[in-house]
């Protein structure tokens, strides 16, 4: 781009193109939702099967999930501290997500601690689903991503239904389905959309 006189139409076109370019930076690749979604889904399904077939202690798969979470979070923290951020651009959306992630994990830990301090797991998982719904809705609203907005309401519906469940097996089924609708499906849709945009960008730049 050289410095030259531009018409009003060209000015508008430049503004439009650059804002569109910046908007693409706000797109999420959905990987986080896919990873956490499948981990949560697997923990629910294996806990359900464990309750059916009595393999190991009831919360074995959730403890395994907890251990994996600690490993993943430690890895991310170490990477952040020693490698630092590699992003060439900081967006308001990404900054908001960072803050929300912290808030989400702190709230999540509070619910998990409360379950360890006597809150019934059946009710505790309903609260966890409520929390997932909140985070999914904000994500969907900020990115104007319809699958997540729909997923949030489905997650809340399962959270509400979970309050009336007495059998923990059903809690796990509800949890798995809610995670499928709130995390996994929107995550894969976001991943496909992100790849399409990137492929389009590569094609136009070649």
């Amino acid at each position: 781009m050289e410095e030259k006189q531009i018409s009003e139409k060209e000015s508008l076109l430049i503004i439009q193109q650059m804002i569109q370019t910046a908007k693409q930076e706000q797109k999420d690749d959905g990987k986080g939702w896919i990873i956490w979604g499948w981990l949560l889904f697997s923990a629910s399904v294996f806990t359900f099967l464990n309750l059916k077939f009595d393999w190991v202690s009831i919360f074995f798969f959730w403890n395994l999930f907890g251990a994996l979470t600690v490993i993943l979070l430690s890895y991310e923290t170490i990477k952040y501290l020693f490698v630092g951020r590699k992003e060439k651009v900081r967006t308001y959306t990404k900054d908001l997500y960072d803050k929300l992630n912290s808030g989400f994990f702190i709230s999540l830990m509070l619910v998990i601690f409360s379950m360890n301090l006597g809150v019934e797991p059946v009710k505790g998982f309903a609260l966890l689903l409520g929390l997932y719904g909140f985070w999914i809705l904000i994500y969907g609203a900020v990115l104007n991503f319809r699958p997540s907005i729909i997923g949030a309401y489905i997650t809340w519906a399962f959270a509400f239904a979970s309050l009336f469940v007495k059998d923990f097996q059903w809690t796990m089924i509800f949890h798995a389905v809610a995670v499928l609708c709130g995390y996994i499906i929107p995550g894969h849709i976001a991943y496909n959309e992100f790849n399409k945009i990137n492929q389009g960008e590569t094609k136009t730049s070649v």
Partner: protein, 94 residues
């Protein structure tokens, strides 16, 4: 023709830089260069003009032993950009 339009912003590359920065919190020089497809020399000159006008803040630092230039739009820059878009709209309406 464009009497009311801000001459600082009414330039292809400077307008592209401002439009890009207005949508993000801050961006590295390399990111702006990549997205505007400008040459490093030309981009440096235009960024300096925007900085001199008070429309952007430029922070030069070292990261992992490499120089890093970070640009961020100022409140004065936001105001000027909004005014520019408004003038553009008024012109088109005529």
């Amino acid at each position: 023709m464009f009497k009311d339009l801000d001459p600082i912003l009414h330039s292809q590359l400077r307008l592209a830089v401002m439009s890009l920065l207005i949508s993000v919190k801050e961006a590295e020089f390399t990111f702006i260069k990549e997205k505007t497809a400008a040459t490093a020399g030309n981009l440096s000159v235009q960024i300096q003009k925007l900085k001199d006008a008070g429309y952007i803040d430029v922070v030069k630092q070292f990261k992992d032993n490499y120089p890093q230039t970070i640009c961020k739009v100022t409140s004065q820059g936001i105001e000027a950009f909004e005014q520019y878009v408004k003038s553009l709209q008024d012109y088109i309406k005529k």
